[in-house]
């Protein structure tokens, strides 16, 4: 009780005394507290000198209802989301959340005043990248399990305007290569979805070696996989997230989308894999620009 009282008092002081009236109070929070998070917070503060930007570990935050409504919360992990979901609270931007995590926690529900910023590469972008790199690929193979099956709908919606066909294949047991082989044999390319059950350091070797043995490129699911041997992927690094966040924070919270992919992104390509698969790979910045140009059409 004693500690709670001090906490509220300090928070009050922070929120009410220290900044000019027009400045916004931006609190970044998460259960995790590490130098990377602190550095991110500091960088955001630097981008928004007029706002008061601070990181507060989740444990030090009161209930969302006790945080003034004009504060903007930026949450960095799922524990923070769980905390925020308990009650109503100030407008919140939720970072580092995947489509799969949101589905498991929220289903199709999108709570008010919370804007979910997906950590997944945007399917439309990823597919545009695919079309740029492997224009002849028509049938895009997608592995899924019971948790990630719902992603196929969005993928299909993104694929149709590009003239691509999504061919799904359930992969319930990652020790059984038969579904993977069957999929590679009837598709032109493997598209990695952001499902950690299927695409993780333990499965990477088999996925990449099997795809390569069938002379099929893999796109995505993230930049780590590109380092491992995937052909290319859209990704957003710290600077992209800072820029995307900055853009949203410039807008009134009422106009924040319920969910969105980051506005800024990059492309990472694996030149050696491209060479081995005889795929022409422009430099990463040029590819990102081409993908972005497609977005404005």
């Amino acid at each position: 009780m004693h500690y709670s009282w001090i906490r509220y008092w300090l928070l009050f002081c922070c929120l009410s005394c220290s900044l000019p009236l027009r400045a916004a109070e931006i609190i970044l929070s998460g259960a995790e507290d590490n130098p990377a998070i602190r550095a991110f917070s500091a960088a955001l503060a630097e981008l928004r000198p007029l706002d008061r930007v601070r990181f507060m570990p989740l444990a030090q935050l009161p209930s969302p209802t006790q945080i003034p409504a004009d504060t903007r919360l930026v949450l960095l992990d799922l524990q923070a989301l769980d905390w925020r979901l308990r009650t109503s609270g100030p407008p919140t931007l939720m970072l580092r959340i995947s489509r799969l995590h949101a589905q498991q926690r929220l289903g199709n529900r999108r709570p008010a005043h919370i804007s979910l910023l997906w950590s997944d590469p945007a399917p439309a972008r990823q597919l545009r990248l695919t079309r740029l790199l492997v224009p002849q690929a028509q049938r895009i193979g997608v592995l899924y399990d019971e948790h990630s099956q719902f992603l196929l709908d969005e993928l299909r919606r993104a694929a149709t305007p590009l003239g691509l066909e999504i061919v799904g294949q359930a992969w319930p047991d990652t020790h059984d290569n038969r579904p993977l082989l069957a999929l590679l044999q009837r598709t032109d390319l493997l598209y990695g979805v952001n499902d950690e059950d299927l695409f993780n350091p333990r499965t990477a070797k088999n996925l990449l070696l099997t795809s390569y043995a069938q002379q099929r490129a893999m796109i995505g699911p993230n930049s780590s996989f590109v380092r491992a041997g995937s052909l290319a992927s859209i990704y957003s690094d710290r600077q992209d997230w800072l820029n995307s966040l900055n853009q949203l924070l410039d807008q009134p919270p009422e106009s924040w989308p319920r969910s969105a992919y980051p506005a800024y992104f990059k492309v990472r390509g694996n030149r050696q894999v491209a060479r081995a698969l005889a795929i022409e790979l422009a430099d990463d910045a040029r590819l990102a620009q081409q993908v972005a140009e497609g977005e404005n059409l």
Partner: protein, 711 residues
Amino acid sequence: MAINTRASLHLTLLALLATGQVLANDLFDSDSAMPEVLTATRLKQSPAAVPGSVTVLDSALITASGARDIPELLRLVPGMMVGYRNGNQATANYHGSNVTEARRLQVLVDGRSVYRPGLASVDWTDIPVAIEDIERIEVFRGPNTVSYGANALMGVINILTRHPLDSRGTRLKTTQGQRGIHDWFASHGSAWPDGALRLSLSGLQDDGFDHDQFGRDYRDSRRLNRFNLSASQQLDSRHSLDWQLAAKEGSNQRPYGYTPVFDAIAPGDKGSDVKARDYAGSLRWTLDLSPEHSLHLQSSAQHWQRKQVWRACEAEVALSPELGQLWDLNPFYVVKFGDYVKQLKSDPGTAVLPAGTAQEQTLAGAVLAQLDGGATRPVCGDVSQSIRETRYDFELQDTLSLSDDLRLLSGLSYRYDQADSETYFNGALSNHIWRLFGHLEWQLGAHWLVQGGAMLEDDQLSGSSLTPRIAVNYLITPRHGLRAVYSEAVRSPDMYENNVDWRYRVRNLQPQAFGQSSATYFARSRGPGNLDQEIMRSRELGYNGSFANAGIDLDIKLFYDEIHSMISEPLRNDRFFPNNANRMHFSGVETQLDWQLGHADRLRLSYALVDFSASSHLDRPLTARHSGSAGWLRDWGQGWSSGLFYYGADQLNQYHFERLDLRVAKHMVIGTTALELAGVLQQRLDDEPMTWQENRHDQRHLLYFSAELDF
């Protein structure tokens, strides 16, 4: 608890300075523990960048062809001359040379050479691998001793089986059809977190050709069973282990394998069948030192066992020690002496004992006395052509990526070969072979790729050799490349050619010959022991292109190959005088096209035009000037698929060959079980025998059916 924002900021800055950008980026980098998998050491060149011509027969093509064994598949390779000595002895020669002596191709199963050391042959029927276990076959068309060692003189056939991890579940298959076809295959694969294993059992049986040129039943059927165990284990993130065990047993029929000197003597047996057993074990250990550096050690042990014992009948005089001595002194005198004996029978008045040395004449006199004493009477005994061959092979290979554009492959290998045969080698003969090899790939900008290497080999029986190889590829784009290749290659004379000591010890003689129950047949042959290596110089210009939007992959090759110091003598046990006096050259053009027409149709064409000259008449008959294949694979939907293939050669060992193969299959899924029913019809489009005049079928068509369960 107080919030000390100042302290936090200091900590943050300190941390940022201390850890750099890496930690900061980790916030949005999903997994920094991701291994690097497709590293420079694991990736291969794209087709347009390969320093030579390669034909890949993938699993879809293999299945659609309906082929039951590997040589039939090789008809899809441009320039490959596939023939048959008989129904169970297929031969594959790239471009040509002597049809019966297909000894200039290297054949590997998962990196293990199955080229027999003793008799310089590949027993296609006896390779312990089922076609159902083959994932793909890569055929390197051209010499490549730098990568594959001596004997990769004219090409390399690399048979790659399905990885155990891709073989999970159970497969059962049976194939039944005309010409006595009874094949079966059973396989089960299981996997665990860091490994996988596959066990396959299979069998094959057919009657071979139906009759010879005289309409007589042809004894050339085959029956075999195989066992294969293949396992893969990831020991940790850097070490992996793959091992295989394989065995094969079976019986290959042969016609009665002896022609008596005296016509009136009846055969002593109905055939001279071979009982063939092959055993192989291999172990491959791979160590990924870093994404840029990997090492692998492959070792294998193999044993070939051919048991061929039959009962042969001949006139007693053929076992005369004196006739044997005469042969050893001068085989040509024995030939003249034979003519003299015939003359004695038909026209004694004009017969004159051939002139010779005193010793030759004395021995001839003794043999004549034996003939007068009744040595023309038939005697029968057990004749053996059995042989056991053993090979141990160790290879250490290092792959080092010096930069994104420079890769070095180097290694060291040792091979021990032993052949043990009383008949062929009068005991056991062994050979030690050391190899040192290096190959460098250098990408010069976006367009140029230079690849070169050399191999130094020391063969205990035939000496040392150094063979270089250089290729320049110009990549117009990553998918379209022009190549110019110069390579030299050698083939070491095999144990037979160089070191044969062929003599038949005939046992269990009845009646006894000259009072003995065992004796040595008079004719014998010895290898000269001083044969040099054959040398090949090959020049190639080529184009490889992939028109991705049209789904077309195209390869064109122009070639000019010369073989010098060629050993053209066939293996025979009378008057066997091999030498390096022959030469041969090949020139021509080859092309292959693979066209994926939409999702349902695939067309595949191959064609070779080969011109040649050969100093030995034995090397001339095989080469077809025009040969090729055309295939159409179609997925008709609802589980129906078909493969239609045409194979043609204007003259293969002087016989025209054209055949149309159709395979129709229906794939059904019942719960978690897949069932595939297929029928194959092969229709010869001509009435010619196959390769040799005795290889004939009763009917021009062949029909067989298969059923496969997969669960």
